[in-house]
Symmetry: C2
Subunit: 376 residues, 2 copies
Amino acid sequence: MKLAELATPAALVDGTRMQRNIVRMQSHIDALGVRFRPHVKTTKCLPVVQAQLAAGARGITVSTLKEAEQFHAAGIDDILYAVGIVPAKLPKAAALRRAGCALKLLVDSVPAAQAVADFGRAQALDFEVFIEIDCDGHRSGIAPDSDTLLAVGHALQRGGMQVAGVLTHAGSSYDLATPDALQALAEQERHLCVLAAERLRAAGLPCPEVSIGSTPTALSARHLEGVTEVRAGVYVFFDLVMANVGICRTDELALSVLTTVIGHQADKGWVIVDAGWMAMSRDRGTAKQAHDYGYGQVCDVTGRPLHGWLMNGANQEHGIVSHAPTPAADVVERFPVGTQLRVLPNHACATGAQYTEYQVLDTHGRVQAWPRFQGW
Amino acid sequence: MKLAELATPAALVDGTRMQRNIVRMQSHIDALGVRFRPHVKTTKCLPVVQAQLAAGARGITVSTLKEAEQFHAAGIDDILYAVGIVPAKLPKAAALRRAGCALKLLVDSVPAAQAVADFGRAQALDFEVFIEIDCDGHRSGIAPDSDTLLAVGHALQRGGMQVAGVLTHAGSSYDLATPDALQALAEQERHLCVLAAERLRAAGLPCPEVSIGSTPTALSARHLEGVTEVRAGVYVFFDLVMANVGICRTDELALSVLTTVIGHQADKGWVIVDAGWMAMSRDRGTAKQAHDYGYGQVCDVTGRPLHGWLMNGANQEHGIVSHAPTPAADVVERFPVGTQLRVLPNHACATGAQYTEYQVLDTHGRVQAWPRFQGW
């Protein structure tokens, strides 16, 4: 199939750029001497994950048990579920373990650790459990210098579970925009997670793994002493938020939305396209960054950015494209009804989640559909 | 199944409230003496649409050809595709017509009308085509007093197509918040669409249908002289945006997200739940309204709103719930790990779109899964 034959809107992946992004991250982490465990929440797409594993990734990270089930069914055994586990989800986790999946769980409190231990003992399963560390105050996790850290470790060990290690995610890296700030946060992420591991070991607890990562810090780290694995997700496609953070160029973005012009409001300089917020997602992540791209940067059908043209408004199935700062007077002539355009998204994870498949473009201009899944 | 057995996050529908919302809208439009054609883009869920039809709706409105295909396959024949058609989508439209679907198309320009006519003639199909009218400047459509209106009508008629009528959507109603402003916009929507119909008829063109609607204007209209049908979508569930607009109360919201507490940051008064932006959508539609609900209003598991508790932050699979204006000191005791909560969403269309099924709760506390579809 060719681009012109695709039904729009479509989630278009530039296969060459994707592969280059995969190699870039893998090489960087290889050079730092640790394992790389990609976060598959970005794509939920088996061929993408297979490309990541073929490039050298070891195991995967998931954000839902559905991801774990789907990828385990596809033959991937080493899976880290990097969201705090709750009691009601333990039966599914047990089923995965019994089916041969080396599933790793995550906790950040004594009650959660206790619940895993109680359930595991009752089921005669010794779950591998990571302890989540808070390295930047942005979300979950235990302070690395807290008493709770050791209490959680002891609760797991006493309960007969395997303390797999410590894990952190410097999610606040998305708010940064300079190499110095990113390197400093990468070092903070590394240092605090290693500190937590050392405290557990000093208390006589095992802590084989030290797992860190976010796309911006992973690509900014200068050394990873004491770390055993890095996780990152959005690097596989990158997006406009990441371009604003400064860790990729816009010509490295592998995901765009293919759309068709359906009409105009010529007086206002508006081009109406058939990609609205359902196609782009409601993510406005660049709104608070240096360069606000609205709902996305508009490109021609070959992927060349059209300077000044953004999707500045979005309804469910309508996007409003216009030129800023000066509206264009010739929108009807420039973009006739039926014209195909591409739109680079703010956030590749959110945009991809709106689709049941990616359309992957090869260097010969041929397109192949790669299914992706949704839901929990 | 009971609530406590549901995997979270889940899209929970209060069946009683939904049915009440359906009856409210249908009765209101019935009393105004016109037909009601619900917009099914909100739910994309057959049992919901069947309930709307059972209550008296005549035909449906869709936002994608996939919706048309799915609902036609389920036995619904009278379908209006209310997004401007482009040439590349005409083969699918033709296939639906040939399969017996009374599919109505929409155009708002001479080139689009010409493309439909050229394709229709070549295929020996006389498509029923609506002309889109702009009644409030918010998106697509032709000014009702413009020459283009007549040119489009003539292009369709000359090309052998059926001019089905005129259609408008007062989408700017979402920006209003008083009954007076809503009534004024409802009257403007009616008046300008009827004006367009009268101009077509005066020019010797047929214009049997005058189709208007948005949830806020539909519920605010006092009379509908000259109108033949009303369209609306989000009324079936309502949401926090609609509550801010003032056309529903929060205890009429039928959709909420069921979530589970997975942890805390007690020092900050944060409760971490397993519903992030993937479960709520990225929609922040209340941000610019009188009451900003963050990512949603938190309720207890029975659906009772917890005053002051909002989802104030969201990552992909993590939501951060906190109390404002004063953070609570007792989050661990108040919401232990494993606690189920419900979160009312900003925008029911965007939130529902994140799920492959709704969990519908009946008056006996039993839950039934209703599938919904996604994509294009």
